[in-house]
Symmetry: C2
Subunit: 325 residues, 2 copies
DNA sequence: TTGTTTTCCGCAACCGTTTGCGAGACTGTT
DNA sequence: AACAGTCTCGCAAACGGTTGCGGAAAACAA
């Protein structure tokens, strides 16, 4: 069965296509009687306008693109979920594409976005991404680009970021406040700006006031190994820069059969899901993907409303107390 | 800056639109010289064909729809990720929509799919969904629908499911094999067919051979409470029907400071992420969303290739040994 | 009756791309 | 010079929907 079109309705009713179109849009030129006939038939035939035709005519799509290294990630997860929800509420659809940290696929995804004539793009560049020319090209085409989380260094673009410095500082201050003496701090890949920011803010806040064991881990497994090593030096607290690291550290702590917080304290920067899996729940500084998503969306809408003002926004950090410190 | 179109290229080159179109498609009618001129200009202008125009003309979109209660769920997560990857590899884009278990939103999402003229739909109906007429209507429009995970009871549609019975049976047999005597088994909402299937297969396999404490939980918190209660009766093993239940049960076990597997054994049916967060890792029967996704995708491609054969496919279950039993 | 206004509706162009058909400009043959 | 045969390319229609403009018919006034 073919799709219902204006043409089909018009033929069935002996009207012209334009009359049917206007009737469905409640145009004052059309008589009530005709409107009724048209809407009734449209209903029974389950008429749905062809979005492609509308797009073609208006050059305005109701589609956003979202490119991200992987949707299988706690943080992106909630971010995407928020964007999707806001999009729907505002009459937009969302095309989600993952690059798997592969720059070639990333370029393909951008091409697909351009072919689909998206009206806006949410982008998280992958670690490997060398040049962001392709993204800048979108801006030339008047397609707003909102970078989030992993953002380029350039100044003249819209970026929505987690408050990396503030959250690391907050975690550090919490540790100091609780009177801890010796902290095992585990950070991620130093090539990422997120790591650099969190690390520098953390160490700066600590500023020699405390015994600091610094480590890096590129994966959960890495974090577990690093924690096992670090525990030998008997820290009283473990700080984890991210959820991934937290999962590794927690495994090591369970392996060592340490009691939290009696034997050791734990604090993390997290999106909030992982910390609540344990008993006691882990105290963490929240970096809400959900909030970030809504911020990104409102920024997008501002761009579409004509704002050419580029800005870098950050979300607030909140300390969520579990019982781990 | 406006988008590059065939028209723009043709005007710049003094050619007709059709010649440009053919040149870009390497049509034999066009001379090599002209082809070269066209492709070069197209390259410098970053020409990308308008997918909407193509779609309008061919009535064939390269877009799949995916409607799901929530993408913030481990299982759907890996499923979606797999579908997205396969779609991209096959030249399709994916429009992801979440209903949040709200039937009204679900209907809106289906409308959006129809408006966008998707060429196929992956659907997981929400718990609340009463009638699936809207889904069946898609089939009337020659849009293949592949149901996954939560599927309707009807027989004449394509369904891709986890092997619920087989995985519950496998878990039960593992418990028997390990010589356990008293099992606390926690299942989900009895209104879901997934719960019914797993429960009946589990109890049937146990068949009085073992002391069975049956409980139900509708959330992780529920599961924690239920486990705390259940532990008073000193079971030697806990079985969790799902990841959500597992997280609750694990929290209760940690709260009771029980050692796994010395004090208590744990086994679950899971997608595999959660069990690996603990030490020792939890032994589980895997229900792979990834595999399910690929199966669903190949089923979709078969439909698009003209197969009208409807079938119900299930994935294999595999026991993944951790150290928890 | 004639002229004016209102009501209702259709014509046609347009968005960007594809494609069957036909036409003009060559080349080569007789 | 007349012809057929190739090589290149343009015309126009189609996909589905929107919209400015103009026109026919009806209603009303003089």
């Amino acid at each position: 069965m073919n799709n219902t079109t204006l043409k089909k309705i018009s033929e069935l009713l002996g009207l012209s296509i334009s009359t049917v179109s206007r009737a469905l849009k409640n145009h004052p030129d059309i008589s009530e009687k005709t409107k009724l006939r048209v809407t009734e038939l449209a209903d029974t035939l389950d008429y749905e306008p062809n979005a492609n035709a509308i797009q073609l005519r208006t050059s305005k799509s109701n589609l956003f693109g979202l490119v991200v290294p992987s949707i299988s990630n706690f943080f992106y997860h909630s971010f995407i979920s928020a964007i999707e929800e806001e999009s729907r509420k505002n009459g937009y659809a969302l095309m989600i594409l993952q690059s798997g940290e592969d720059p070639a696929i990333e370029m393909l995804n951008l091409k697909l976005c351009r072919k689909s004539r998206i009206s806006g793009l949410f982008a998280c560049i992958s670690n490997q991404t060398g040049n962001i020319d392709a993204y800048l090209k979108m801006k030339d085409l008047d397609i707003p680009v909102i970078f989030f989380d992993k953002v380029p260094e350039l100044s003249n673009c819209n970026k929505i970021c987690v408050a990396d410095e503030a959250s690391a500082t907050m975690a550090a201050n919490t540790i100091l406040l609780k009177g801890k003496k010796k902290v095992l701090a585990i950070f991620g890949n130093m090539n990422l700006s997120i790591t650099k920011k969190r690390l520098s803010a953390f160490t700066k806040t600590m500023d020699g006031k405390i015994d600091l064991l610094m480590h890096h881990a590129n994966s959960a497994l890495d974090a577990e190994t690093v924690t096992i090593d670090g525990l030998r030096q008997k820290p009283d607290t473990i700080f984890c820069m991210s959820d991934e690291i937290l999962t590794g550290a927690m495994k090591a702590i369970q392996r060592a059969a340490l009691k939290i917080p009696a034997d050791i304290s734990v604090i993390a920067i997290s999106n909030g899901f992982i910390p609540k899996l344990y008993f006691p729940e882990i105290t963490y500084v929240e970096t809400s993907g959900d909030e970030l998503g809504r911020l990104a969306f409102s920024s997008m809408m501002a761009c579409l409303d004509g704002s050419t003002f580029t800005q870098e926004l950050t979300t607030e950090s909140v300390l969520v107390e579990g019982g781990s410190i």
